[in-house]
């Protein structure tokens, strides 16, 4: 995967195409990266798309409560709605000679039941919006947790080296040795079937809590972020300015957080959008398998699962969240590439050289 191929260059002046050394000399590297990103129209478009998805998803309650006037979480099997001025049943009889089978209402292309209903009679569009909220919260939350934990572990392992490094790295290898989905499914099965949820002292986590899929996904991706961070720390630790700080008697914490951390944080910043895309995909897969977000709460994965049984008659139930996942992941991947190019222009050159070499 592209995100794991990223290897930042050692510290030094990195020039983006069209930049001169004079232009970048003495400038704040974050400011420089911001300028480079602002010049990348594709990345900006991706950012705009992602933000639009975030805004729309977090505006779900406004849509459901004030525009469509629907409850996307309650079963409405025997409910009715108004379409073109006529009162119709949300779940309608299948018809035919035997009158068997019940069909949820299809897309009305009006504010109520815009994309139709699912088999519980719930408004699919409103659920897709709410589902986006859950998917984004879990995706961003787990990516952040994963990156923070991996960063801390990478700093400790890379700085102290020796037995500490060996121990942390082997634990990471152990986690990495499990296929991601097998590990996530195993964890989810255990956590979701705990009779009273999870209890750590006074903290109780309900089995339906979004924290459970968030932590599970965060945990399985820690090694993926840990490895490049640790490599970067090992490299930075040998730099002259770090040795100079050591010679000046700087404390361990100062060395880690003042001298090394600022020089490895770019790795995390570049990986974050790509990690969010990956974790959103993982969340959707777990929810599709009924071991992520628990109904009646919605995530894009659960909605696709709901729609699986309606593919013949009501394909929009599965297609709509699928489109949202594609757009979100695509925008995050493009944005991630843009951030990488902005923070480390040499990475782009390396990629180009690699392609030419092939």
């Amino acid at each position: 995967m592209a995100e794991f191929a990223f290897e930042p260059e050692p510290a030094g002046v990195a020039l983006a195409p069209g930049e001169t050394a004079r232009e970048v000399a003495g400038k704040n590297p974050w400011l420089l990266a911001g300028r480079r990103l602002a010049r990348n129209r594709v990345a900006l478009a991706a950012l705009a798309l992602f933000l639009a998805i975030v805004v729309v998803s977090f505006g779900a309650p406004i849509w459901a409560n004030h525009i469509a006037h629907v409850d996307p979480f309650s079963s409405n099997v025997n409910g009715t709605t108004v379409v073109d001025g006529k009162k119709v049943e949300v779940i309608q009889q299948g018809g035919g000679a035997l009158g068997i089978g019940e069909n949820p209402i299809g897309p009305t292309w009006q504010k109520n039941y815009l994309l139709g209903a699912d088999s519980q009679g719930r408004d699919v569009f409103a659920r897709v919006l709410y589902g986006g909220r859950a998917s984004l919260l879990i995706g961003v939350g787990s990516a952040l947790i994963s990156c923070i934990v991996a960063l801390l572990l990478g700093l400790v392992a890379g700085f102290f080296r020796g037995p500490v490094d060996v121990f942390i790295s082997r634990v990471m290898d152990l986690v990495w040795a499990f296929p991601i989905f097998l590990l996530a499914i195993s964890l989810a099965t255990v956590l979701l079937t705990a009779p009273d949820g999870l209890q750590w002292g006074p903290v109780r986590v309900d089995p339906a809590s979004l924290w459970i899929p968030t932590f599970i996904i965060a945990l399985v991706y820690v090694p993926y972020v840990y490895r490049p961070v640790r490599g970067q720390v090992l490299s930075v630790r040998e730099k002259e300015y770090v040795e100079a700080a050591i010679a000046q008697g700087a404390s361990t914490w100062r060395l880690i957080f003042v001298e090394i951390l600022p020089n490895v944080i770019t790795t995390i910043v570049v990986m974050l959008p790509l990690m969010i895309a990956t974790t959103i995909l993982t969340e959707s897969a777990l929810s599709f398998l009924s071991i992520g977000v628990q109904p009646p709460a919605a995530s894009w994965g659960t909605i696709i699962e709901d729609g699986q049984g309606l593919l013949y008659t009501r394909p929009w139930v599965a297609i709509a969240p699928g489109i949202m996942i594609v757009l979100t992941v695509l925008s995050l991947n493009v944005l991630g590439d843009g951030v990488r190019d902005a923070l480390d222009p040499r990475a782009k050159l390396r990629l180009k050289r690699a392609k030419v070499g092939k």
Binding site: I100, D196, G309
Partner: protein, 575 residues
């Protein structure tokens, strides 16, 4: 029996049910069981056809567990076993309520029990041969029942057939099983002596566990069912691809009621397709029928109803779908809380989720219609009195929740992940939240859900389950599912999921069981009263009684739906 698969052999192996629930406890098992056919159901086809051809049926997977006829507990295999083997008695091979009646099969007549219901005397029909050419003798009968114990894991050896004198000793030491005292053979005369009366003994003899096998059949699991006496013999059993039966050259029809000659030359069942693909194959005429183990997706029903209505058959089943309320765990250890959920449940919504009123009927009680002892009763409806459910009564439900003082409590709604069951679970999560509880779902894989909800250790509060009759008897529901003897603490084989035990009701059920061998009508009245008493205490939210939807190819003629065996495969013509 339970429709889902898995547990039959586990139950048998652990012997959890040993006579614990008054003589009629059943293990969980796989697909289907009894039902009640309605010959006048829409799409029914009673025109008999010609002999010959191959009837091709489809199932997603092979029958669960061993193919051994004394071990397998799936309707899927039983539908084949009943045309390759016979018992001393059998269920009449016909559609409609008559299909639940017993008729003599290998025996000449149905015996009347003597000695307070402890002795049954049979006379073997002369000259009937196994498919290997050997004549059936009394020794084969005795050896069959000894093998049933010797094999070690026949599901109901320790719950039904141990009633035969010597049976309990055989359960303890299967290898040295000797039923000489319990089954006395004298030429063609076979006398069964039971250690205690069992009014359902003849029905138990009509199930495949008791089908007669050659005496030299080894007492270990077979890879393909051994020779039998039916019109067909097994020719193939490959769990990964297919099973099939062909004509038995030694078969001569001796009783049209018990074992009529078959119409197709070959009957096969292919495994491996998804149900969606199976529907398409039957639509295209590439196959003739989808096994009852595979539920036709709700998404395809409107299409089938519109385009293939003449190929659809809808038949009622002896089955109740229910939510079990754990009477030992809050909030449903409170009777008012249980009644509140019953009043609040919109059974018409659940029927809709299942596929609509053509495929299911709302229910409030344990016993399904058409089962002996059934008397329509529904106290949990708006305007009660008619015995039928009409509408939920939310006001009454809210009032009962308030009176119970259970509002605000956490409830975990347990169901499995199959489409319909999960949807019903979601419905109840919403309903319980409306009633003031804090409900969350707990959806488990179909493979583990039934075992999980039975185990009291898991403190399941509210769980989806269903029950199919092994044979048409009220005890098969009431004693097994709600009898005190069916509670096995910390066991995965504890079918009384609600852990409901009321001593007065239990005493009445025991009395009804004892009365059955002398006066069936009185016993049925007593069972009906027990059914009502249980409904009043609301250990379940009985939801609906489903119907079986069969989809056959356009060339299938002579569709017959037995309440016991469902589609009678051998009576179908594909010529």
């Amino acid at each position: 029996m339970k429709r889902s698969v898995i547990l039959a052999t586990v139950v048998a192996a652990t012997g959890m049910f040993v006579a614990a629930c008054g003589g009629s406890s059943k293990s969980t098992s796989s697909s289907g069981g009894g039902g009640t056919s309605a010959s006048s159901t829409p799409g029914a086809d009673t025109a008999a056809g010609a002999k010959g051809g191959t009837l091709t049926t489809l199932a997603n997977a092979a029958p669960s567990g061993s193919p051994d006829p004394q071990v397998n507990y799936t309707l899927q295999e039983w539908q084949f076993l009943i045309i390759t083997h016979d018992g001393l008695v059998g269920f009449k091979r016909t559609s409609g309520a008559e299909g639940a009646t017993l008729v003599p099969d290998l025996a000449t007549t149905l015996p009347t029990p003597t000695d307070n219901g402890r002795t049954y005397q049979f006379t073997l029909r002369p000259g009937i041969k196994f498919s290997n050419g050997k004549v059936v003798t009394g020794q084969d009968v005795k050896a069959t029942f000894e093998r049933l114990f010797k094999i070690g894991d026949s599901p109901n050896a320790g719950t039904w057939y141990n009633a035969i004198e010597g049976g309990d000793a055989c359960v303890k030491t299967p290898k040295t099983c000797d039923l000489s005292k319990g089954i006395v053979v004298n030429g063609d005369q076979i006398t069964f002596h039971l250690s205690k009366g069992d009014p359902e003994f003849l029905q138990q003899l009509a199930l495949p566990f008791a089908f007669i096998l050659p005496a030299d059949t080894p007492a270990k699991h077979v890879d393909i069912p051994p020779p039998g006496t039916g019109p067909y013999k097994w020719s193939e059993y490959k769990p990964t691809s297919a099973m099939s039966v062909v004509r038995n050259p030694f078969f001569k029809e001796w009783s049209k009621d018990a074992q009529p000659a078959g119409l197709p030359d070959v009957i096969e069942q292919k495994f491996g397709l998804s149900v969606q693909a199976e529907v398409t194959q039957v639509e295209n005429g590439q196959a003739d029928w989808i096994s009852n183990t595979d539920t036709i997706p709700a998404d395809r029903l409107p299409e089938l109803s519109r385009k293939y209505s003449k190929q659809l058959h809808v038949n009622p089943l002896l089955n109740t779908e229910y939510m079990a309320l754990n009477t030992n765990v809050p909030p449903f250890d409170n009777e008012k809380a249980r009644q509140a959920v019953n009043f609040a449940t919109d059974r018409s919504a659940i029927v809709k989720i299942y596929g609509g009123p053509q495929l299911a009927t709302p229910a409030c009680q344990v016993l399904p219609p058409n089962l002996p002892g059934y008397q329509a009763y529904c106290p949990y409806t708006a305007n009660p009195g008619s015995g039928k459910w009409t509408a939920p009564d939310m006001a009454k439900a809210q009032q009962l929740v308030t009176e119970s003082g259970t509002a605000g409590m956490r409830v975990k709604v347990n169901s499995d992940t199959t489409d319909v069951h999960k949807a019903v679970g979601e419905y109840f999560v919403g309903l319980l939240n409306k009633l003031g509880y804090k409900a969350t779902p707990q959806f488990l894989s179909n493979d583990i859900q039934y075992a999980y909800i039975q185990n009291s250790k898991n403190k399941v509060q509210f769980a989806y389950s269903s029950w199919f009759a092994d044979y048409p008897a009220p005890s098969d529901f009431l004693q097994v599912l709600l009898g005190c003897g069916s509670i096995h603490k910390n066991s995965n084989s504890s079918p009384n999921i609600a852990q409901f035990c009321n001593k007065d009701i239990q005493a009445n059920m025991d009395k009804a069981g004892a009365t059955a061998s002398e006066d069936v009508n009185t016993a049925n009245t007593m069972w009906a009263q027990a059914d009502k008493d249980i409904a009043d205490q609301a250990p379940w939210v009985a939801m609906f009684n489903p119907k079986q939807l069969n989809f056959v190819s356009s060339r299938v003629k002579g569709f017959q739906f037995s309440p016991q065996w469902y589609l009678l495969l051998a009576q179908v013509s594909v010529k």
